[in-house]
């Protein structure tokens, strides 16, 4: 449904995307994971025909994004990082406007708007101008707006960034239902947890390049659901500790700036193993913590893999 082949984009001298390839089968969800500036939004904008790629080709819903842009635009919905709704209009008027522009009749447009407002829990606010909406309400309206035409492909660019936990959960529920209805989704996020929950497969983007790709299950298996962070007193100790843990069969990644080791683990058992191994080697860490894996850990784990290959 979405295919990108060697897509590159330069802005002047800055390379925002460098030969990115990915594929999203019909009815599945791809999580595009990366930090700010990794190139996520640039890729989404190319696929949504907002900007043209400098190199490579991409097809969405069977049409080339450059030569068949208008066909693509008829089949996609885009929810950007910032809610793109008209502040002056009511929630209802915003959705009716979109429906009418897509070719719906007056009556059809109203019905569709009513339906979406109810589904997104905005019926009570339907006749109020968007100006008075909360951040979460705006995002929901924005998402509703991109679903008016029942698109085959939906792009969600950081749909939950800046939302409180309640709004975030509501957003997740909506996305999960979309998936159930057979919509193909490309979702960008900075949160591993989000990609893990919503996406069938994950592509990790860093400095405009794909650094890892796979199913979320494979990614998790490689990384572990949780990590243990062990902060050592000196850099030398950190290096020693890494050797010790590697001998013990673990895969620690070294974060040199913080003299810390980040160790993907399967559970509590591994935590005690780490403590035991370090104890036996008479290395006393300043701090040991068991945490949920974060995007940083993914990057560090990927860097650790490269380290292993080079050794």
């Amino acid at each position: 449904m979405i295919e990108a082949l060697d897509v590159g984009k330069r802005f002047g001298k800055v390379t925002a995307l460098d030969s990115v390839s990915l594929e999203v089968p019909r009815g599945s969800v791809l999580g595009l994971l990366g930090h700010n500036g990794a190139g996520k939004t640039t890729l989404v904008n190319i696929l949504a025909t907002m900007i043209t790629p400098s190199s490579g080709t991409a097809r969405v819903a069977g049409y080339d994004v450059v030569s068949d842009g208008s066909k693509v635009r008829q089949r996609i919905g885009l929810t950007g990082q910032f809610a793109s709704v008209d502040e002056d209009l009511t929630g209802m008027a915003n959705l009716v406007l979109i429906a009418r522009l897509l070719g719906a009749g007056r009556q059809q447009a109203r019905e569709r708007a009513d339906e979406l407002l109810a589904a997104f829990d905005l019926s009570d606010a339907a006749t109020r101008p968007v100006q008075g909406y909360s951040g979460g309400m705006r995002r929901r309206l924005d998402l509703a707006a991109s679903l008016v035409g029942q698109p085959e492909v939906v792009f969600l660019d950081e749909p939950t960034t800046g939302l409180d936990p309640v709004s975030r959960n509501a957003m997740w529920a909506v996305v999960q239902r979309l998936v159930g209805d057979g919509t193909t989704i490309l979702l960008t996020t900075q949160y591993l947890e989000e990609a893990d929950r919503l996406a069938d497969s994950i592509v990790v983007l860093s400095h405009g390049r794909v650094v890892a790709a796979g199913t979320s299950a494979a990614m998790k298996a490689g990384l572990g659901r949780r990590t243990v962070t062990a902060r050592l007193r000196t850099n030398l100790e950190a290096l020693d500790a890494r050797t010790v843990l590697e001998r013990g069969g673990l895969a620690p990644a070294l974060d040199e700036s913080r003299d810390s080791l980040i160790v993907p683990v399967q559970g509590f058992q591994d935590l005690s193993t780490i403590v035991r191994l370090l104890g036996e080697a008479r290395i006393e860490p300043a701090e040991v913590a068991l945490t949920e894996a974060t995007l940083d850990d993914v990057y560090l784990a990927l860097a650790a893999d490269e380290h292993k290959v080079s050794v």
Partner: protein, 278 residues
Amino acid sequence: MVDTVQPVRTGPAPSATAWHGSGVGTQIVILAGRAVRPVFLRPSRLVVSLIQPFVMLGLFSQVFRSMADTPLFPPDVSYINYLVPAILFTTATTVSAQAGVGMTSDMRNGVLARFRSMPVRTFSVLTARSIADLARGALELTVMIIMALLIFGFDPPGGLLGTAVAMLLALAVGWSLGWLFLALATWLRGSENVQACGILITMLLQFASSAFVPVASMPTYLRAVATVNPLSYGIDAARGLILGRPVGTSVVGTLAICLVLSAVCSVLAARGLDRTGR
């Protein structure tokens, strides 16, 4: 909270029932309606935009009244009759600058980005904005002429017909200048730039013209600007119409300038909007 409500059609529509975009005409009507709406949604905006011509009329008819006593001023003409054609054009110019500001705010708040990800043409977006401001201009100018007639002693020798044609001419000039401001907005981005540029250009167009004083009374360098200023042509033509004097080719000339200006600027505006490149 969201998943407790009744099922909704969210998945892809069967292609037979899918909406694949409306025609350009429908797009323009819908988008123009949207652009006009806020004026009526917020009464304060409407009131402010209607007070403006009133203040202009009052201010200029008092401040520049003594102009009528100077030797360069055409004899047998009351200053208010001389002034109204000018204010028609300066008001139309101010309204057209609003087109640029409106476009800038659409570009900033992401509404434009949404339209661009939809099957909506760039041309429709721009035309809708310019038509909306044309409608607003028509409203303001009509109110102004009524005020001038009722309160300020405006008594056009050219009659109401001449006045109406002059008003249409002012709207034509305002509309083509609207395209200029739209082009500026799409190239400059950033609302402060557009605002500042808009004020500068409107000031220059309004004052370095035959609007308030005869061009002959200006120093040479200003006279040069005033002679090439499209507003001068429009105002001269409108003045002829309102004062009931022969207008010669000035009406046709003004319309020709409008045509060229809007043709060039509409292309520039569309290019500016698509600049980040579809």
